[in-house]
Symmetry: D2
Subunit: 275 residues, 4 copies
Amino acid sequence: MKDSAVLLIDCPDRKGLVACVSCLLYQFGANILHADQHQDPEAGLFFMRVEWDMAGFDLEAFRGEFAVMAASLHMRWSVQLLSARPKVAVFVSKTLHCLIDILHQHQVALILGNHLDGEALAKFYGVEFQYFEVTPALKREVEEKQLILLRDSGIELIVLARYMQVLSPEFVREYPNRIINVHHSFLPAFAGARPYHAAFQRGVKLIGATSHYVTEALDDGPIIEQGVARISHRDQVQDLIEKGRDLERVVLSRAVKWHLERRVLCYGNKTVVFD
Amino acid sequence: MKDSAVLLIDCPDRKGLVACVSCLLYQFGANILHADQHQDPEAGLFFMRVEWDMAGFDLEAFRGEFAVMAASLHMRWSVQLLSARPKVAVFVSKTLHCLIDILHQHQVALILGNHLDGEALAKFYGVEFQYFEVTPALKREVEEKQLILLRDSGIELIVLARYMQVLSPEFVREYPNRIINVHHSFLPAFAGARPYHAAFQRGVKLIGATSHYVTEALDDGPIIEQGVARISHRDQVQDLIEKGRDLERVVLSRAVKWHLERRVLCYGNKTVVFD
Amino acid sequence: MKDSAVLLIDCPDRKGLVACVSCLLYQFGANILHADQHQDPEAGLFFMRVEWDMAGFDLEAFRGEFAVMAASLHMRWSVQLLSARPKVAVFVSKTLHCLIDILHQHQVALILGNHLDGEALAKFYGVEFQYFEVTPALKREVEEKQLILLRDSGIELIVLARYMQVLSPEFVREYPNRIINVHHSFLPAFAGARPYHAAFQRGVKLIGATSHYVTEALDDGPIIEQGVARISHRDQVQDLIEKGRDLERVVLSRAVKWHLERRVLCYGNKTVVFD
Amino acid sequence: MKDSAVLLIDCPDRKGLVACVSCLLYQFGANILHADQHQDPEAGLFFMRVEWDMAGFDLEAFRGEFAVMAASLHMRWSVQLLSARPKVAVFVSKTLHCLIDILHQHQVALILGNHLDGEALAKFYGVEFQYFEVTPALKREVEEKQLILLRDSGIELIVLARYMQVLSPEFVREYPNRIINVHHSFLPAFAGARPYHAAFQRGVKLIGATSHYVTEALDDGPIIEQGVARISHRDQVQDLIEKGRDLERVVLSRAVKWHLERRVLCYGNKTVVFD
């Protein structure tokens, strides 16, 4: 596979942004593969993603020139090789369907479990597995150990694959917009514990699943993807749980894929997903 | 079209219910067209809907026999001709897309508007239109007039087709499980006012619409039908409103159709919809 | 509403296209509202749509400069005011649900019917209705009259809203990519007559509807939008027809909207839809 | 888990069928958990599925009595314990996502591969794996060996999990309505080879997947389940393949689950799926 570079920009909107960026890329001879931009007129913000072929492209020189322009236009930006995938750690408890999916589709560097259920699968895929018993009393201490392990392993993205523990604000702050969770409801409906039970109780006709970045407020971070499935009065809670499984892994896998392909930008409490 | 009868039953579950009902129908020579039943194991309830051809069927004799059996089995039940459609009134404000759909698909006896926008359409379809100015001060008085009008017109089902007023508990109590509303969100998310604005603010990736029976608690009655549509960061509030329109009229029209075909049974705060 | 201009481009792909276009727009002080581009790597084609605010913009001067650049880059292009909506004619037979939707959502200049069913509705919306009896023997002659009427009325877009006649190749050639049809199946499945009957016969679990530009080959033109709905063994042909109605009008209305907002570009037998 | 029995019936429709079946079950004291029936008025057929608790139920006595009644009513029928799951074999080639899903959700007795890719996974789940090189010259001989293996292993259901070989009519005839395949298109569109390429070529806006029983006619057997996903002009063939994966495994897994729970009845070239 040929390599490509991805430029992500977010900044205050003003005239000429696309012109400036595309002219500089043209000057450097970039062979653009995809380009997409978005303006939020209410927030007055501009977002852009450009992907180009790296063949014969001088990335360092471009980076230098771009930095100067970006500073003058107050851009937050990053430019990275698509081949330089962020290292991924997955947190898991007892339920494994989301983990299975991620292991089949993505490179994973590390699996952390508060139960041992995921260990055999980790071994099968040749991924390091670390077990951490978590109790209310141990929580703080465990999180500190986990943070050290994550740092030492160079982890850049954390995926909570039906991990049944709430991470502390201190932990979350270490990985802003870099922890992806799947919640088994159509957020903001049924945030918190036991959403399928709540959905059953309320008598909804569709159930959902939501992947989102984790913030300090529970189940309230920027939403990346959502899916729904039709249910009926025939479905008991157990049926909801089973039907929900397919939703959960699909919305989680998509979110991970989009993050790794650098398609997601956060602003306020929302996301721009360049597809 | 040939006429058919519909029997609806809900009662405590016990052995032999289907046997008792189907034997009696067999005895009367019913040519069954559709039959469906449902058991809620947690609630210990049984629900059944049977539809049969009326050709040569003695409904009155059946009703008499069935009443005796039903009493002994503690059934709530009704048996009605499908041709005997409940008389429908529609409440409307300024937004007409739901009203248009209902007028095209169903017989409507009466339209009540707190604005005059729906009047021309009512005329076109040959339906009586009554205008009621509603202000906080007038509300009580207006509702009393409306109730008299509805009663005098023999209305059995009220449809709120994007009617922008909240009915009082006193009003709602007069038509239990006989007022259908469409709320422009995926309930229970974004109950209350301006759900599209709230959805935009929250950054959801799917918007929804919900049709439900109106109860005294706002946007909290038994859900009949829900639908969703995909949106993206490109969609502003106005786009959500436009994309939501198709959802609203579809979920409302389906709810009305199912109610008129006597497919909906309520229990607790939920519905059984026999499709 | 403020007015805006839309530039549509399609041309062979090469480096620097976005730079050229965006620089020229910047030079003219365009306040860009939306911009989107697409490259088809296999076909080696480039597509772009830019929309900008017309306040203080000198469209004629821009057009002159752009024409020079476009010629040198072998671009097919158009730039138009969004307010200058193409004039629309709708062809209709006896089924009216699609027509109702279009009349509620769009300005229509002319309705042509091979039955009289749509006339009252046309009158209600204040739109001219012309009746044309169509028989195999009359077809050629009728089409010639229709073409004259359409030309005289300045019609730029023709919408077939469940029009049950096949237009001749001669007719279609007069309006290339400017006739939108809705076919009541998920094309390419069940092209041709009676698709719901065919779907029922085949026992599919989802039915669909497709809006597409009409070409000389029946039901084979570039697809603009498709939708599906779940069905089950319980659904007879009549149920499929009823459930399909909502699909048909939604996919047709969307296609019309996108065409009028100049979001659709055709190439080969496919469409690019800038959303 | 408590055990339950499932009765499946299909026969010519006539009055009193539900009465006869439900009375006999009542007589034997069956505690019914689910019951569902379906009539196809055009075909004049009746279908029924009843599931009841086995606690204290005399299955053999019931079977004897039921057989007499069934014969007089020309019923095709079966009654089986839900715990007596049919033994499953999976055929696989190089693509493993469907196999992974099935192994995670179901008991599998045997995996047959015409490539070795699935072997490690089989080992991980402790399932026997048999490799068969298939070439046009070897095909007949291989199928004979496979049939012997399947017979010796007592296999009752064969699942083709993206198996890239077409089974011969002779093979198919051995397992009528007991071979489930997943085809990666929305059948009947794009039957045959390379459906994603064909879908891309045609420019559809939704792609699909279909699970169906295998018959002697390629991709033409009774459809069990279908799913679709939205695509756009941005998606190249490779994107269609990736987006299709989730559809394929979901529609295949559901079909297998429904078959194992004895929810599927075939008639003509269609299925009744009791949900």
